[in-house]
Amino acid sequence: MEPKIRLENVSYYYGNQPALRDVTLDIPPNAITVIFGPAGGGKTTLLRLINRLNDEVEGTRMTGRVLLDGQDIYAPGVDVPRLRRRVGMVFALPLPLPGTVRENILYGPKLAGVRDRARLEEILERSLRLAALWDEVKDRLDDPASRLSGGQQQRLCIARSLALEPEVLLLDEPTSGLDPISTGKVEEALQELKHRYTIVIFPHSVQQAARVADYAAFFLMGEMVECQPGRDLFTTPRDRRTEDYITGRFG
């Protein structure tokens, strides 16, 4: 099976400080790939390389290649806003933009040039349904997004990414600020979403990693230790360090 995303020998430096060391990783389509490991493992850096959100950071250096559907996304002439529409991102904290629920969801599509009212309404409802939020907010679409609960805000952010109909969804600890019930709802939504999208997620705990992973990659200090289908990695890790981490001996 062709990988959706392929990282080839990717190293990344902040100044002289390496954040990723020679990472090679295939991310398969229509599945949830979990990237996990202790803090400082280069996970956020990795995620932001896939939608080129690290472009704005000064004093950084990258080697290696990142391929999306076989195309080098760092090749000259790549349309970065278009790439970011194809590769959606949800941040660790719910970050609603100022404005209403509706404005949040339609921000991306409007920037992408969608003007047709009916089409926008359709996008609004479809994205909120996909993120399992529609029933809770359908009567509050014109309320400020900041009045939603934390869990609702995070699903709003997921819906906001989905409104662009991306191919890949990157989630950076999407449930770190949420209570268990909200977390459950987000995880449920992800299980539905993986049939349509390629999902890369940093879980906020090993338990969550084990719950949602179709594939799992363990990262330690900027290096990828191993990558396997989830049920194998969490039952029979190949590397000693992975085993130590998932059995709670460190981290």
């Binding site: 959100l53 000064e58 278009r82 970011r84 529409r85 970050l95 933009l97 100022p98 991306g108 920037l111």
Partner: protein, 282 residues
């Protein structure tokens, strides 16, 4: 042992007295001008030309002149100032040159206003041959106003959380789209406050227009931007020091009009600020 409550009360009383000392002179100045100037204010004073060696009639051309100068200053200083602030806050990287630029802006804010006047005289009036005119005065005032607008606007832009820019970028927005649709609206109250404070200063200053725009006595509205004009602060200076036997009523009346214009602009700034603060949601 000293009674703690007593010490606390003493402290509060002291702070109250100090606050009063700060406020009293302002209240006294305003009160004095209102009491002594209110008698001069009538329809004729506000809408008629000065007559009888400025000892009678109105101050209409000075009011219009000041409004024209403020308007001209706004037209030049707002786009340049806000544009500069957007550049500094959103685009400029931290290099040697941007540091020099920032230093220049900070220093510009500390330059005495009479120096701006001389600069305007040299550059606009003489070198560019605009003559003593509304145009030369507006440009001079605009340069004086720029550092205030740039630094407050830059501050306001930096106060908008960086995450909004990141979210906008992650949703396929270009940097400019993020600035225009999210950052700028959020920073707007701060920017507007800075603009008004800058224009306030432009409205009240005498020195920058002394050599560049102001006419001693010109009892008509300027017909073009290249004509000189009367202006309230300069007119006030003239009738207070240059015209013997000037009725104090007219002097205080003129001061009252200038003060009213300035204070009402200030009030508008305060209203805008509180309106946006109540609407802000994050």
């Amino acid at each position: 042992m000293i009674n703690r409550h007593l010490v606390q009360r003493l402290g509060f009383t002291l702070l109250g007295v100090i606050s009063l000392i700060v406020v009293l002179p302002i209240l006294f100045v305003i009160g004095n001008i209102v009491v002594r100037g209110i008698g001069a204010i009538n329809w004729e004073f506000l809408t008629a030309m000065p007559r009888g060696g400025m000892k009678a009639g109105g101050i209409f051309p000075a009011i219009v002149g000041t409004l024209l100068l403020v308007l001209g200053t706004a037209v030049v200083a707002i786009p340049v100032g806000v544009g500069g602030a957007i550049y500094l806050a959103e685009y400029a990287r931290d290099t040697f040159w941007t540091r020099i630029l920032r230093l220049a802006i900070i220093n510009l804010a500390g330059v005495p206003s009479v120096v701006y006047g001389l600069f305007g005289l040299g550059l606009f009036v003489l070198f560019l041959q605009f003559g003593t005119s509304v145009l030369a005065g507006s440009l001079t005032l605009a340069i004086m106003t720029l550092p205030v607008i740039i630094s407050t606007a830059e501050e306001a832009l930096r106060a908008v959380p960086g995450e909004f820019r990141l979210v906008s970028a992650s949703l396929g927005g270009t940097r400019w789209q993020g600035i225009r649709s999210i950052v700028l609206p959020q920073a707007l109250p701060g920017i507007i406050t800075g603009i008004i404070l800058g224009l306030l200063r432009a409205a009240g200053e005498t020195a920058p227009i002394l050599f560049t725009a102001a006419a001693f006595y010109l009892p008509r509205i300027p017909r073009s931007l290249l004509e000189p004009t009367m202006a309230l602060p300069y007119h006030l200076y003239v009738i207070s020091t240059q015209v013997p036997g000037m009725p104090p009523r007219i002097q205080y009346g003129t001061a009252l009009v200038l003060l009213t214009i300035v204070l009402s602009m200030n009030a508008v700034a305060a209203i805008i600020r509180s309106y946006f603060r109540r609407r802000r949601e994050w």
